[in-house]
Amino acid sequence: MFLTDEEKGMRDGAEGEAVVAAMDLLIRYGEALGAERLVETRNVAGTMTQPSPAKQKLVEEGGWARAYAVINLDCDRDIEIPRMKVPTCQLQHGFGPDAAGLTGYSPQFIELQGSAESYYSERGVNILATCTPYQVGNLPVRGEHVAWMESSAVVYANSVLGARTNCEGGASTGAASLTGRIPYWGNHLTENRFASHLVQADVPIDSFQEWGMFGYFVGEQVEEARPAVIGDLGQPDLADLKHFGAATATSGGVELYHIPGITPEAPSLDAAFGGRAAPAPIRYGRREREWVYETLNARGTSTDVDFVLLGCPHASLDQVARIAFLLEDRRLHPGTELWVMTPGALRTMADRNGYTRTIERAGGRVLTDSCPAMSKAAPPGTRVFATDSAKQAHYLPAILGIEAWFGTLDECIDAAVTGTWRGGLR
């Protein structure tokens, strides 16, 4: 792989041991991918603070420097971790103090994460603590090379914002933060950004639920390819595309899609395919829509709902406001909990606007930093949960061994208030 003189310097120790380790990882990674070179980046979204048993052990052995070396640089040497070379943010991680005592989630982990936040803040990491950095001020511009992880954020950055990133991991982002480099491969190259598949909706895609279900179908069909989607599409908003992209990256591995006329790199269908002829479309009709609905509800048998989870990916302020509106002057069923996950910055706005108070008065909670899937924890005794998120309905049964119902926000709020799932495909 070609290295510039500056990169060779970093590799050979000009910027210290941690940068040597970072360059070593980037070279191994870039060569394994077959990348010709690295590309400069000044926007890294990774994860360092999330506790895990393996990380806890490393911290006990050698502090956060050891954890960063092993997990974020794949390096076993004892090295000091300098200040991040380029702007870096922490994505979602484990539950924070606001969720203490609500689940069986380890209090030691909450404490460990607090110490991680101090350590990494001192080294220049912005603790955004959300899977949606683009909702709280980290908005890369079109064409900008970034190094992000979190599949739902990656697909949003590539598709909706037109920034360029592969689906990075903890080690590659750890190395990128200290070097300002990432392999120039995959989604960073213009020729790899054109659509490869065409999916046509023959049923109206005109609500949060429909965008999520359509996304789940698209991901299942195209796997890790690059779809352009057309057909009976309404005008999506941020929350719709947040849901759509997350779903495509859950049932499949979509990192980039185009919606001709909507997303920035596809002013037209022709542009989406880079001037090449579009293939015959994969059709999404009534039967396919029913298949998605049944798949996402396949883990639900009991209609007694213990737990309603909203905000996956983390809720926008508009979503929090809508939930508060629906819960005004209502009370949750005594045996049912309701959580709304949102970025800490938006929680502050929700507090200021009174949304948090309305949701809490009904018996619900507005929480930050994490989600039940990331933290592998739900309210004690949860057997059946309901959600409006295709991603959470897909993952949580596998992670927690609980039943899932997937439906609209109104159906989820109804379940929270009555304790009973009464949803159905309409």
Binding site: E31, D74, S151, V154, C167, W185
Partner: protein, 162 residues
């Protein structure tokens, strides 16, 4: 068998290899172990349990099957970007696979193989999924990029589930 160690070796390998699949080694090292083969892409986050080295995705062909110490032969990675971190955790917990063989190159799977630190061959021909079956004894040479089929599984029974 201790996690991470190669599977049991047969007696002297007098017979010629049954098949050689040539690809590109991306993580060095040589290991001989039993293959665990799936035609389904694997999810890291929400797809595997790192404490037990087991696939936990309900609709997955390998649901409930343990990959610890096996040569994991699979199409590629899907799902969350936690993929590499989850497989790295299997290394740290001693539940990782012995080697990886996959043909769909993604950042998730490539970085995952590197941080799992097990011999890995990618882009092999003929397609490993057409040649290798679960239970076959294979050698993965991450230095030369060759996967060698050494011995067929005794029977084609499906892997046991716990």
């Amino acid at each position: 068998m201790n996690p991470g160690e190669p599977g049991p070796r047969p007696g002297p390998l007098s017979a010629a290899p049954l098949a050689e699949l040539r690809g590109r080694g991306i993580v060095p090292g040589v290991v001989e172990a039993e293959a665990l083969v799936t035609h389904d892409a694997i999810s890291g986050f929400g797809g595997i349990d790192v404490a037990t080295g087991t696939v936990i995705e309900p609709r997955h062909e390998l649901f409930g099957v343990c990959f610890t110490g096996k040569v994991l032969v699979f199409p590629g990675a899907k799902g969350s970007s936690g993929w590499s971190g989850y497989f790295q955790s299997t290394r740290l917990m001693g539940t990782g696979p012995a080697a990886m063989v996959f043909n769909v190159l993604t950042t998730k799977a490539v970085l995952g193989a590197i941080v799992t630190r097990v011999p890995t061959v990618v882009e092999a021909t003929p397609d490993p999924l057409d040649v290798i079956r679960t239970g076959d004894l294979v050698r993965v040479d991450g230095d030369t990029g060759v996967v060698t089929l050494l011995r067929r599984a005794v029977s084609d029974v499906a892997p046991t589930t716990p």
